[in-house]
Assembly symmetry: C2
Homo-oligomer: 113 residues x 2
């Protein structure tokens, strides 16, 4: 058992999986891997993700050190989110899951991507 931040994890895999549980965090890492993005860009590019949930998930990812933000000194202020090395490495591990999906489900149709 691993004890971390008041939570218990069965093993190192369980521990790492915690960072990408739920529907949105892996998808956000995927979108930010393409390059820094603004809040509205992320929201527009991810169907079904509300402003409230996006805000929560970005805060979680930032708190976990997977993403960071640049605040440009402009008027109106411009904020961009980008992956840290830790976030990039996490994404690079799970990215091959896309190929796995195609290999085992060749008929699934990814429209609009």
């Amino acid at each position: 058992m691993i004890h971390y931040n008041g939570k218990e994890f069965i093993c190192l895999l369980d521990f790492a999986m915690e960072f990408i549980r739920g529907k949105w965090k892996s998808i956000l890492l995927c979108h930010l891997y393409e390059g820094p993005k603004r809040f509205l860009e992320l929201q527009k590019s991810i169907e079904g993700l509300s402003q409230k949930v996006l805000n929560e998930k970005l805060k979680e990812l930032e708190g976990e050190g997977l993403i960071n933000k640049i605040i440009y000194a402009e008027i109106p202020p411009k904020v961009e989110y980008f992956l840290t090395d830790k976030g990039k490495e996490l994404y690079e591990i799970i990215a091959p899951l896309k190929k796995w999906s195609i290999k085992y489900y060749p008929d699934i149709d990814e429209k609009g991507e």
Copy 2:
């Protein structure tokens, strides 16, 4: 958007992640990657996993083609679960998450493994 089995997925990554959502499925893949195991072996080796949930998760993994079972014609009957190629390949993709955990959280302590 991907439509599959009455569910909607944002992208191929989201689709694949669905197979390992929740706490137990990735852990079960990890334990079965070591070799075929019986129900009770799995239950004993994974702390906190109830018989009911283990039963559910094994059925889900079997339904998704990630594991299979061998029923030996013995008395009492012996049943062993093992990973299919599809399950093995899925696990091999996520296995490096363990190294990622150690790299970024070198102080976490994995007792009893």
